[in-house]
């Protein structure tokens, strides 16, 4: 057994030492823990860890196989995303005990704080005392056993699993109901309690999902959008408005679709590069002479992502997209030497195998989130929101929750899946920094950690991202797409991509941040032309979602949410997915990325530069008063490049 004294060493050193000891099969004892955060985080070995005192946040989080015993109390998030193994807390646990459990057992001898077992998926959370409010909030599976009182609104918006309450059920949460308990369940629970030496023979009440909220009675009557031009014809009460109202009058709820904001808003088309189009020729040697290589993510000493050009594939989930599409994107990203991203909902083994570099995204529902895939990833990303639907949680209908998808996400098959609008453990800037630290501790400070944000109060948000130590930011404007969101949110929530980059850079300037934290801009970047504009405005790289999908055959019918994607992209239906030919589309996407590379190189050269990092605002003019107002670029709709600002291309 190895004894580590936290009065002597830092948490980081302690965690490193624990990993080393565990690798040798040694049990570990931590003395003087002093309620420090992140103790035992990311430990993957079947050893016993004894903590002599109290632990802080995320004790035993993201671990697999170890048996933790904490003599005294723990801070919030004990056993966060535990894969398997056990955690026994002698005293009380703070909020979100057992958050996002994916297996294993968390036993708290005392009381637990609010939202215990939030978004847990499997395993058992036992509390011998009382729980605070919202226990089992949005849980997907597994069981919570509360021997004392339940707290208020127990089981709120749970979609799967069960909560057993030995004491009083103070109040049921929304969409939760009481259910019968079978003798087998009783036997099982008693056996579990006996295993931990807990004497309890009383009766229990069981709480499960009532299923009253997620079903929609009527389908939307319209299957394909009217041309966007209908809304621009000048009549206020045009056919699109009438169609929209008629549809809502039929379904009684907001409408859903895929893609981003469809209305016209200031965008890349409203600014121009100072290039005479006539000077762009096929015979360009720009690919050979202009530097496009860059790296992302070493702001805090992690191993950076290596990009052959300043382009990333935007995070898009397996779930919104078919597995075949994710594989094609991964393959194409590798061919092009750029970075792929898992998006929400976990990492597919095939995707990991095909992608050269892969960012792994962590969302509020912690779907598919686990230590093993974190270790396999090349970067970790905390999703706060996206441009298409900032401020809202996600939802996936049971029909799409196939067996394979459920396995990757770590949830029961065929449940109606909703995810909360906020992370269980990120209420604000302070929590966020602790969360980031947890990921760093769990993965040995080796991986870049980025944040994905839809554009809202960017000027302020970016400062928090900076201060919380993110390695880079993925910033998404209101033009950014989605697989499904409310049309009203798509059109009315968030600010345009142009405004987002402007505010981000100004915000960073206001705190003298320098250019230490790169910004990856996305939301309606359609090709190398838009990419160059974004880079000239100050983005360090761009990401493309929809454009990559279109290159791979998406026909822009915007019906992603229906799940019957006609080309097999946005679907989990095997018959539809079969229509998508991975090899054909992977090659098409890769060719598209090469064309983008050609464009970025050629345009950079045409502007007189030899490195894309030399692109600047001086290379741009605004074509509309709005674009000029937003970006501060000169308004010059009649701009004609003067010969001397050009260098010959090709």
């Amino acid at each position: 057994m190895v004894t580590l004294d936290l009065a002597q060493i830092s948490v980081r050193d302690a965690n490193t030492a624990m990993r080393a000891a565990a690798a040798q099969g040694e049990d570990i004892e931590l003395v003087n823990p002093d309620a420090r955060h992140h103790l035992g985080v990311g430990l993957v070995a079947p050893v016993k860890v004894t903590i002599r005192g109290s632990a802080g946040y995320f004790c035993a989080g993201l671990s697999h196989g170890a048996r933790f015993e904490i003599d005294s109390n723990v801070g919030w998030g004990v056993g966060d995303s535990l894969y398997d193994g056990s955690v026994v807390v002698g005293g009380n646990a703070s909020a979100i005990a057992g958050v996002a459990l994916r297996g294993g057992e968390v036993v708290v001898k005392g009381n637990i704080g609010s939202r215990a077992g939030q978004v847990m998926k499997a395993g058992t959370l036992l509390c011998c005392g009382n729980a605070s409010f919202l226990a089992g909030y949005m849980m997907y599976g597994g069981r919570i056993i509360l021997l004392g009182d339940s707290g208020e609104r127990v089981g709120e918006d749970m979609s799967g699993g069960a909560i057993y309450v030995g004491g009083r059920v103070q109040s049921l949460g929304a969409d939760a109901k009481l259910a019968e308990i079978t003798p087998e369940e009783y036997a099982d629970i008693y056996a579990f309690l006996a295993k931990y030496g807990i004497a309890f023979e009383g009766g229990l009440q069981k709480i499960v999902n009532a299923g009253s909220k997620l079903r929609y009675g009527v389908n939307e009557p319209v299957s394909r959008p009217l041309s966007y031009t209908v809304a621009e014809e000048g009549t206020y009460w045009n056919a699109k408005v009438a169609e929209d109202i008629h549809a809502k009058a039929l379904i009684g709820r907001y409408r859903i679709r895929g893609y981003g904001a469809a209305k016209a808003a200031p965008h890349f088309n409203d600014i121009a590069l100072k290039i005479d189009p006539e000077r762009i020729h096929a015979a360009s040697d720009a690919l050979a002479t202009v530097n496009l290589k860059t790296t992302l993510g070493d702001r805090n000493g992690a191993k950076p992502l290596e990009l052959s050009m300043p382009v990333l594939i935007a995070p898009m989930s397996y779930g919104a997209l078919s597995k075949s599409t994710k594989i094609a994107l991964a393959r194409a990203s590798k061919l092009a030497g750029v970075v792929e991203n898992t998006g929400e909902g976990g990492m597919l083994p095939e995707q990991r195998a095909e992608a050269g570099q892969l960012i792994y995204q962590c969302l509020s529902g912690r779907l598919g989130w686990n230590i093993h895939d974190m270790l396999k990833a090349d970067g970790l990303e905390i999703y706060i929101s996206q441009g298409a639907k900032p401020g809202l949680g996600g939802q996936l209908m049971a029909k799409k929750v196939t067996k394979e998808l459920a396995a990757v996400r770590g949830i029961p098959e065929g449940i109606d899946l909703r995810s909360p609008s906020r992370h269980p453990d990120i209420m604000g800037a302070d929590d966020l920094v602790i969360k980031v630290e947890e990921f760093r501790e769990a993965t040995g400070y080796a991986k870049p950690i980025s944040i994905k944000m839809g554009a809202g109060r960017v000027r302020d948000d970016i400062k928090i991202a900076y201060k919380d130590g993110f390695d880079f930011v993925q910033l998404d404007g209101m033009q950014g797409s989605t697989g499904a969101a409310s049309t009203e949110v798509l059109e009315n929530m968030g600010i345009p991509t142009l405004a987002a980059i402007q505010e981000a850079l100004e915000g960073l300037r206001e705190i003298d941040a320098g250019d230490d934290m790169p910004i990856v801009l996305m939301g309606g970047v359609k090709d190398g032309v838009d990419a160059v504009k974004a880079l000239a405005l100050g983005a360090s790289a761009v990401a493309m979602g929809t454009a990559a999908l279109i290159a791979g055959g998406c026909i822009s019918c915007m019906q992603c949410h229906v799940g019957n994607c006609v080309v097999g992209i946005a679907t989990q239906d095997p018959e539809h997915e079969e229509r998508y030919k991975i090899d054909v589309q992977a090659k098409a996407i890769a060719r598209y990325l090469e064309a983008v590379r050609w464009q970025i190189a050629t345009l950079t050269k045409a502007l007189g530069h030899s490195d894309f990092r030399q692109l600047s605002r001086a290379d741009l003019v605004a074509l509309t008063p709005e674009a000029a107002a937003i970006t501060g670029l000169p308004y010059d709709p009649d701009y004609h490049p003067v010969e001397h600002v050009l260098t010959e291309v090709a």
Partner: protein, 827 residues
């Protein structure tokens, strides 16, 4: 309909329109058929409009509906998914559905000049129609006893009944009285080129390639060998010879397919074998024909070439050798070589050689017009070696498909017309693309519906030459039409438009090299005009700021958001009131009244709705009209000094517009009004006032400002009227300081109404449905409103504030005084 056929009028090309992208099927069609429109029209059930779209460029629509090789289908984008749209079979459906005697109105000749066309096959007929429709006289000379050329003589009846050919031809002649047809008039005997050149202003040679080529091996002229076209011509002419038991067809093209299936239908035949010199991957016959031949029992031998034919006791021994395939040659087809020592014999009673056709004409040869077995023709202007003599079709460019022949007919007609009109250097011909902008099929199943081939009837022994394929039934045709992606239509996104999509597709294509990429890049660099529509700022130019890292507020666990509304003590379930409906049919108005009560809202109007039990806010222009039954009186003239009240407890309010704002608010403050309606439309009180269009948003911030200046911000609640369509619009007005919104046109639409010039029309609306629909709309709008609030981190819609908003345009910034996104301050 224009009398000029579109295909020779390049000015009708619409492919340059900002929102029109010629779809791949149209581009693949040599004659630019507006496929997407006709398929869309079929879905809509507009069959005769569909035929107009088809025949505009295709005089042989019926023929093509049966036997076109349909290059559009492999080009169809859906081919890459679950199979192409059945473009050809749908065309047949249109023709069958309309009936064989469907005719288009005639177009009389109105010009003196005359054109002679030799050959009434697909190329000749097409050109004749184009030229006749342009007003000229045409003399059409046909060597055979009936017009139709290869369409009539070369394609067997079970694929193309002669009646169908005849219908198309009849349609052409009834439409074009200016065409005079001369049958049994081959070039040479009575019809001399020299004479025609004298008597006519131009001559077009479209004589076709109807002589079969020989096999080119020893014995290929024997008694047991016949060429494919001759064989088909004779059978189509009505002969039904008894054939030997075994027949071998040599070749792999469409003539070979027709020949083998025809042979199978003749008496005496037991077995038909097709021998093709390349492999199954290379065989040029259309998959559909190949499939049909196999389904009917034809056998296929691949990688086999004949080397000689020897007579033996009443039959032949066809000496064959195996072939080996090499690399693709210049034409993209793989070369083949004979494998030594692989010889074998095929015994049979008849060899049909279907290895190509050629044009033969002594008369033309005499004039030096021939170049081998083709007429020497310049593809640049379809001219020959003689002035004013043009050529088109298989005789000019070698045997090809029907639709290719029609393309050449159009093209030749274009240059002939140019010559007639004295245009020395016409713009080079290209197939023009046109769209009829048919609406997209709103078919819930469009993504799911599988491709379905028309019913295959195959070989019926009782009627061997009857139709081998049937038409779709109407429902199947409708379903198959629903499958179309409608690549021609503009998308629903102003960001990812159809042109953007196509440009991304183009960059991803295998053939995209630097030339293509450079061209696309140049287009993308071009500056575009500022297209912002004129008029006042609208709700669309306002957006909300979501709570991300900052303002992660208050109660992060509560997904619900409150929307209950209190208007001067009047308690409503949601911040949305209803107006309009005063002139709606009684039953609809009563249903609306019921819904207003059930949904916990209130009604605003000059008169209460019938049976209204919910609060009624009465609009009055004259204080004496105030009704004690009303919950509130809203005076709609801003200047009156005394706000009426007919009983204690009745709320007093007024309606102010942009014109009366200052006085109105001042009056409301002075009189201690209970509530004020801000009317952005300026028309509230009139029927369906919202039809006035985009409201003046500025009056809300101005009213708030005025109240603030008077230190009376909370003096009375403001109710917004004007332009509200959705819960998001409402949320924006709540953020700007309103307490509730008022809708009329949106409610009218929700109740099932339609906008007509006179107002909202309820013709055909079932009153029992109107109520629930309005309730559903209110529910949706309220949920949208609270969704906006929630995204901003609020748990009550009334907590939305101006700080939650940004504007997207300068005019909106000026109108509502909210800074534009991306900027720190207004100026």
């Amino acid at each position: 309909m224009s009398c000029k056929p579109f295909s020779v009028d390049l000015s009708q090309d619409e492919s340059g329109l900002p929102h029109y992208q010629p779809p791949p099927c149209q581009v693949a069609c040599p004659i630019g058929t507006d496929v997407a429109s006709y398929v869309g029209l079929i879905w809509e059930g507009k069959t005769s409009e569909a035929l107009e779209a088809i025949t505009a460029t295709n005089p042989l629509s019926g023929v093509c509906g049966r036997v076109c090789d349909a290059p559009c289908e492999p080009a169809c984008r859906r081919a890459g998914a679950d199979g192409p749209v059945a473009i050809r079979a749908l065309k047949r459906h249109v023709l069958d559905a309309l009936g064989h005697d469907y005719r288009l109105p005639p177009v009389q000749p109105d010009k003196a000049k005359k054109v002679a066309i030799i050959g009434a096959g697909p190329a000749g007929l097409t050109a004749a129609q184009d030229i006749a429709l342009a007003g000229y006289h045409v003399d059409l000379y046909e060597a055979q006893s009936r017009p139709g050329g290869m369409a009539l003589w070369g394609i067997p009846d079970f694929r193309l009944p002669q009646k169908v050919v005849q219908d198309d031809i009849d349609r052409i002649f009834s439409r074009c009285p200016g065409i005079a047809l001369h049958l049994n008039s081959p070039l040479g005997d009575n019809v001399k080129l020299d004479d025609l050149s004298q008597s006519h202003d131009a001559v077009l040679l479209a004589i076709g390639a109807s002589a079969g080529k020989r096999l080119g091996v020893p014995g290929d002229d024997g008694a047991h060998v016949i060429d494919g076209v001759t064989f088909l011509n004779r059978v189509n002419g009505g002969e039904r010879p008894i054939l030997p038991k075994r027949v071998v067809v040599i070749g792999g093209g469409d003539v070979a397919m027709d020949a083998c299936r025809t042979a199978l239908r003749l008496p005496g035949v037991e077995k038909v074998i097709v021998a093709y010199r390349r492999g199954p991957e290379e065989i040029p016959a259309r998959a559909y024909e190949l499939h049909a031949a196999k389904a009917e029992g034809v056998e296929f031998l691949y990688n086999v070439a004949p080397v000689s034919i020897e007579e033996n006791k009443g039959g032949v021994a066809l000496k064959c050798r195996k072939t080996a395939l090499g690399a693709p040659g210049a034409d993209g087809r793989r070369a083949f070589s004979l494998v030594e020592g692989s010889d074998f014999d095929l015994a049979c009673g008849l060899v049909i050689a279907a290895v190509g056709q050629k044009a033969v004409s002594l008369e033309l040869a005499r004039h030096g017009l021939m170049d081998g077995d083709k007429i020497f023709t310049r593809s640049a202007d379809m001219g020959t070696r003689l002035p004013k003599v043009f050529a088109a079709g298989d005789a000019a460019f070698g045997s090809s498909t029907l639709v290719q022949a029609m393309f050449q007919g159009h093209k030749a007609a274009y240059y002939v017309l140019a010559a007639l009109e004295g245009i020395a250097h016409p713009a080079p011909y290209r197939t023009p693309y046109r769209t009829r902008n048919a609406p997209v099929a709103q078919d819930i199943l469009w993504e799911k519906l599988a491709p379905k081939e028309p019913p295959f009837l195959g070989l019926d022994k009782r009627d061997p030459f009857g139709d081998a394929e049937a038409d779709y039934d109407a429902r199947t045709a409708h379903e198959q039409a629903a499958r179309c992606y409608r690549c021609d239509t503009e998308t629903g996104s102003s960001d990812y438009t159809v042109k953007t999509r196509e440009s991304i597709f183009a960059l991803a294509r295998p053939e995209a090299g630097p030339t293509e990429i450079a061209a696309i890049t140049r287009t993308r660099l071009e500056k575009r005009p500022d297209l912002k529509p004129a008029g006042p700022a609208t709700f669309d130019e306002l957006v909300f700021l979501p709570a991300n890292l900052t303002r992660l507020v208050i109660d992060p666990y509560r997904e619900a958001c409150k929307s209950a509304t209190d208007l001067a003590g009047m308690k409503l379930a949601q911040p949305l009131l209803i107006a309009g409906f005063e002139d709606a049919p009684e039953a609809v108005a009563a249903a609306v009244a019921k819904t207003v009560a059930e949904t916990g809202t209130a009604y605003v109007g000059r008169r209460p709705l019938p049976g209204l039990s919910a609060p009624w806010l009465q609009i009055v222009s004259d204080p004496v009209a105030a009704d004690p039954a009303a919950a509130a009186i809203l005076l709609d003239v801003g200047e009156t000094t005394v706000l009426p009240r007919t009983r204690p407890g009745q709320l007093r309010g007024l309606i102010v517009t942009a014109a009366t704002l200052e006085k109105g608010i001042a009056c409301a403050l002075e009189q201690r009004a209970d509530l004020v309606v801000l009317d952005g439309s300026g028309a509230l009180g009139a029927a369906w006032a919202d039809l006035a269009g985009a409201p003046d948003l500025s009056i809300l911030p101005r009213a708030v400002e005025q109240m603030r200046a008077a230190r009376a911000e909370e003096a009375f609640p403001l109710i917004w009227f004007g332009g509200l369509r959705s819960g998001s619009d409402l949320a924006k007005m709540l953020a700007l300081g309103a307490s509730a919104g008022l809708v009329d046109v949106a409610a009218g639409l929700a109740a099932g109404g339609a906008i007509k010039p006179e107002g909202v029309d309820f013709t055909g609306v079932e009153a029992p449905e109107a109520g629930p629909r309005l309730a559903a709309y209110l529910k949706a709008a309220t949920s949208e409103c609270s969704m906006m609030a929630r995204c901003c981190g609020k748990t009550n819609v009334h907590n939305l504030e101006p700080e939650d908003l940004r504007t997207l345009s300068l005019r909106a910034q000026a109108a509502v005084g909210i800074v534009m996104a991306g900027r720190k301050k207004i100026a």
